[in-house]
Structures are given as C-alpha cells and as structure tokens.
Subunit: 181 residues, 2 copies
C-alpha cells in the first residue's frame, strides 16, 4: 500500500504556527460565516492515522472539546511514560527513531499519516520523510512565535499541485515533494 | 496624490529571499518557457520610484545586464559616500530616518514607491510603512538563508486582494495592509 506522510497546517505570512506565547487566536481572525472547514474533512478522508509530538498532544488534550480525532493518534515522545487513562485507546505512545516509529505504525496497517506539530514536522523534514504539505496562509505578520520550518541540511523542491483561496482571504497551497531521481 | 509603499518579491516556502550564500539561482528553478514576467511589468506601471538598501543596489550593479530600471532608484545608505559615476542620474543616495527619506522622495513628486531588499523591507515594516505586498512563493525549502521578514513589535493584519498561480507552480499573493481604524 502507498505510504504517505502529509502535513496540513496553517501559518502566518511570516511562517509561524503559534505566536510567541503559543497562542493561536489569530488563526480565527478571518470571519468564517460560511463555516468552511478549509478542506480539512476532505483531507482527513485519506488519512489512516496521526503522528504528533508531545507538545501538540498536550495542546489538544487542553482544548475544551471532545477528543477531535476519528483516526488513531500516535504520540511521539521519549519523555512521556504513558498516555493518560482518559486518552487510552485513542492515543498511543511511540518511541525511538523516526524509522522505528514509522515501522511500528506501518506494521499496524496505517500507511497514510498526518504529521502534526512544529517540532515533529521539522524532524520529519530533516530526514526527508514528508511527501505532501497543505499549507494555509493567514494574512497576518506575527513578528515572533513558533516557526513551522527550521534549518535543513539541504534544499528540497516541491511541486505545486493546487492553490485555492478560502473565505476570500486564506491562500491554501498543496505541495508534493519532488525528490531527485 | 496617494502615497503607497509596495513590496514585490519572491520567497522560498520557508521565507528566504536568498540562500545562505546570497544566491538566488533557485528563483529560476521553474521552467519559464512562456517567458512570463509574473506580473512585474503590470506592477511597475504603477510605480514612480524604487527605494532599496545598499546590499540590493550592489547586487543589481553586479548583474551582467543593462541597468534594469526605468524609474529613479533611491539608495538608502548611511555608509555609502556617493553613487558610482556609472549610475549617477539613475540612482540617488538618500540618508537619514525613514520619515526624512520619504519626505525627500515625496517632495520630488514620487509617491508610489517600490521598496526592495530584505533589510529595507524589514525597516519599513518595523515602522508600519508598507501598504502593499505582492509575494511570489517558489516551491522550495532552502533550510537557511536571508529572511524576508524579521521580528516585529506587534502583529500586523493584511487583506488578501488576489492570489494567482504563475507557470503552474508559483503562488503569487497580493496583500494590502489592514490598519486598525
């Protein structure tokens, strides 16, 4: 089965995924009267499981909403000892190198993975393990915050598959990795 | 007359305008068989003069081509003593604070300005003096280089005017500054 690691994330114009206090209120700065999901559900239809770091997991657990995922969530953490009781069966702790983690997940028959969280995405990019990125740009300069991208050992080219505008304000671009032949 | 300071620039997906060696070869990584100008000439029709820093001026002088501008160029530099003889009449040295510089330029009846170069754009943004940005995103992660944006004292919201795709690969988005009322 095709294996694919995908990113679906929003950033500010200056490339931040959260402000300097970790805040994400600015994500909702564009009025959404039509209640658009910005293509999220269409994207999730083709996702078997999520992979996220501990920070993102903690953030999601802190939201005052029902557990938002219908696919298994793998939490990448070498420090967390176990998944809190409340989330057992929904979230699963995975440890080790990314290749070990991916091997563990693939063996359970989850192949199309949604990679989430700044540090986790950066780790995957560092090992050239991201195949697809859907990036939604919010029209704000934050000036400081948590960056989506970090230093890389070498440049990586992508192919633009599609770009569309949501809510008349948010540019969403879909890229796939163009690896050297 | 309406005063407007505009940016028209290309960046990598990770927000760099040049690689770590100052190189910009990656800007031409997308085949341009149709010889598209990516909207540059349409943009320049509404520009009275350019404002750039010394680095950008030196870079342009180093290009092995004819002087590329048909509008006056103001070079913002407190270190340069004078414009080299070859470029006199085309480029003009301006010194002082941005408000002094803008006052000097406006008095000469140039009101719609193309602000170019990373440091100069950052200086203008820091004083909230950019009214419009047309940003073309090249589908590459460079991983390191010279950033378009830098730290800001406060967030700045923009309005998306238009987004279009050039050469089937380059997303060009046109933003105007949305200042608090």
């Amino acid at each position: 089965m095709e294996k694919r690691n995908s990113v679906f994330i929003a950033t500010s114009l200056d490339g931040y995924i959260a402000d300097k206090n970790g805040g994400i209120d600015w994500l909702d700065s564009t009025p959404n009267t039509e209640n658009s999901d910005m293509g999220y559900f269409r994207f999730m239809k083709h996702i078997d499981a999520m992979v996220m770091g501990r920070n993102t997991f903690d953030t999601v657990c802190g939201f005052d909403v029902e557990w938002p995922y219908t696919v298994p969530v793998f939490v990448l953490s070498n420090s967390l000892q176990e998944i809190p009781a409340k989330y057992q069966g929904k979230a699963h702790l995975v440890k080790g190198s990314l290749s070990e983690v991916l091997s563990t997940i693939h063996k359970q028959n989850y192949h199309r993975l949604y990679i989430d969280g700044g540090i986790t995405i950066q780790q995957f990019l560092n090992e050239d393990l991201i195949d697809e990125m859907i990036i939604t740009t919010i029209p704000v300069l934050l000036g400081d915050g948590i960056s989506l991208f970090s230093a890389l050992n070498h440049e990586m080219y992508f192919e633009l598959v599609k770009s569309e505008v949501h809510l008349n304000q948010l540019v969403q671009s879909h890229y796939t990795r163009k690896r050297p032949q």
